[in-house]
Structure formats: C-alpha cells, structure tokens
C-alpha cells in the first residue's frame, strides 16, 4: 500500500520559511498570496496502514508542533513516476 503523509506546522506555530516565501512573492508579481505554510511530505509503502497514525505520532511528526494527514494512495500505486532515483 502506498501512503503519503503530509506534515505541516500547527496553526499558531510561527513558520518563518512560509513567511519568507510569502514576502518574496509580490516582488515576482504574484499578489494576494497569503498564509504560506511550509511542511514536508513523506511517501512510503507499508503492509500495515493501520500502524501509520502511531508511526506518525512517534517519529514522522512531532505532535507538539506539527499536524499530519495520512493519504492512502492505494494498492499497486507507484511512487512518483515509478522510477528509481537517477534512473
């Protein structure tokens, strides 16, 4: 089973990376973009999707500062374009 875990800073936790990107956008002509938040995505294959919340709480995310969402992409799905890195 392919799963994606999206991890982002909790609301209320200042995200200086997001702020920096937000401030850069108007200088490129992109107006009206607000509340940019930068997190990370983890893709993984697992035989036990039920264990994912526990796995997220214990390692992938720090629940004190981050929220996470688990997206089950499905059986037989492939990561990205299915190629090995560099292939």
């Amino acid at each position: 089973m392919l799963a994606r875990v999206l991890i982002r800073p909790k609301s209320g936790v200042v995200d200086p990376q997001g702020k920096a990107v937000e401030r850069a956008l108007p200088s490129l002509g992109f107006e009206g973009v607000e509340e940019v938040r930068i997190g990370r995505m983890v893709e993984l294959h697992t035989d036990d999707p039920d264990a994912l919340p526990d796995l997220c709480e214990k390692l992938l995310a720090n629940p004190l500062i981050e929220d996470y969402e688990i997206e089950l992409v499905g059986e037989g799905a492939v990561l990205n374009d299915g190629g090995e890195i560099g292939a």
Binding site: G12, V13, V14, L59, N62, I65
Partner: protein, 223 residues
C-alpha cells in the same frame, strides 16, 4: 570524583569540548550511541552537533539510539543529564524535557556570545549558581527557537522549570519568553541551546560555562 559520560552520535561535533569541560571538574569518557551501556558514569552529557544528519527533525532519530534507552532509565532514577544544543533537541524529542526547538526566527545560522540570566538554581546543573546570576556563553545553531504551547509555558513558569533565559536584548532566535534552558520537574535533567562547554577556558573569553559542570561535580561529591 564525578565520572561524566559524553555520548557520541554519528554527526556529533561538540563531544570533545564537552569531554574536556567535564575533565576540568571530574573524570570523563565518551559513550557510543550504539551501546546500550552507560559504563557506570555518574552524569551524562548529550552534546551538540548534527546527530544522524538532523534528518527528519533535529534530534528525532537520535532519541531512538540504543544508548538513549539507558539515558532515559538513568534520568528516571534521578541521574543528572545535560543536553546541549542538539542534545537539548534530542531530550525534547525523547520527551525528557518539555517543549520543542524550531528554526530560528530569522532562519539564519547564528554564532555569537550571549548573556544569560540564571532563573532557577534548584536544578542539578545550576546548583552552584546564584539566582539571577549573569553568564556569558556562546550560541551556535539554526534550530534553537524554544517553543511550547501556551498552557505548557504557563506550567513551566508556575513550576519554575525555566532555568536560563537570554538577558534582555540577547534573545538571538525568537525563543518564547526568552527561554534558553529548561529542566525536568525533578531537576536532574536540563537542556539548553547555548554551549557551556565552549566557555570553560579564559582563552575563549569566558569561563562561565564551567559553573554547570561544577554544579553536578559538587552535588556528587560534597566538599
């Protein structure tokens, strides 16, 4: 004489300075992250650096190192444990200290001497300090902004668990309430972002960092 153990993870870089700081007040030896053995030391220092390449989050992988299981048990039995910089991040990730360290407000790596105020002397590592004492100790980090949710911050303040604060005008990274170091409820575990092990020799301008190591050496072997 107090025997200090300094843990070396892959990616640690301040373990030798920490070792030498400990040797000024006692005996010290390196402990290896892969060994589930503290070799009978009286105090443990989790040093600074970039354990496991800072992958995922700073300290997130190191907390699962075999040696950390023993450090957690050692601390639960009242053993003194000090986490410096990356070591502080490791202790927070391991749940041994409250809060978390976030990227600096300015997103830059900072390396500078800062002034600290000792807020609490009921901690094993500041017991040789005076309340309100000013210490000059360097910081060098990218991920040092202390954060805890509002309710936890209130609890920290109420219970006196904030050990060190940046002096007014010296908060380099946007840490909440100017917090530079915190301790466990029992007072034997402490973490701080500044580097006391880099402030033990007059050659580098300040010997104030030595006080933390002296505190534990004195506790263990009262004169």
């Amino acid at each position: 004489m107090t025997r200090f153990g300094v843990i070396r993870f892959p990616g640690s870089c301040d373990e030798i300075d920490a070792l030498e700081a400990c040797e000024r007040v006692g005996e010290a030896e390196l402990l290896w992250h892969g060994d589930a053995d503290l070799k009978g030391v009286d105090a443990v220092v989790v040093p600074g650096g970039f354990s496991y390449g800072d992958y995922l989050r700073c300290g997130a992988i190191a907390r699962f190192a075999p040696v950390m299981e023993r450090v957690i048990a050692f601390a639960a039995d009242g053993g003194p444990v000090l986490g410096i910089c990356n070591g502080f991040q490791v202790l927070c990730e391991a749940g041994m200290l409250p809060g978390a360290l976030l990227p600096n407000e300015g997103l830059k790596f900072l390396c500078r001497q800062v002034e600290l105020l000792v807020d609490d002397v009921d901690c094993a590592w500041t017991s040789a300090c005076e309340p309100g004492e000013r210490l000059s100790i360097p910081v060098k980090h990218t991920t040092g902004r202390y954060y805890a949710p509002a309710d936890q911050l209130e609890r920290l303040e109420a219970e006196g668990l904030v050990v060190l604060r940046y002096a007014p005008g010296h908060n380099p990274n946007g840490s909440l309430r100017d917090i530079a170091g915190v301790r466990s409820e029992a007072g034997n575990v402490m973490g701080l972002m500044p580097h006391p092990e880099h402030a033990v020799d007059p050659l580098t301008g300040s010997t104030d960092g030595l006080k933390l190591f002296e505190s534990v050496a004195r506790l263990a072997a009262p004169a």
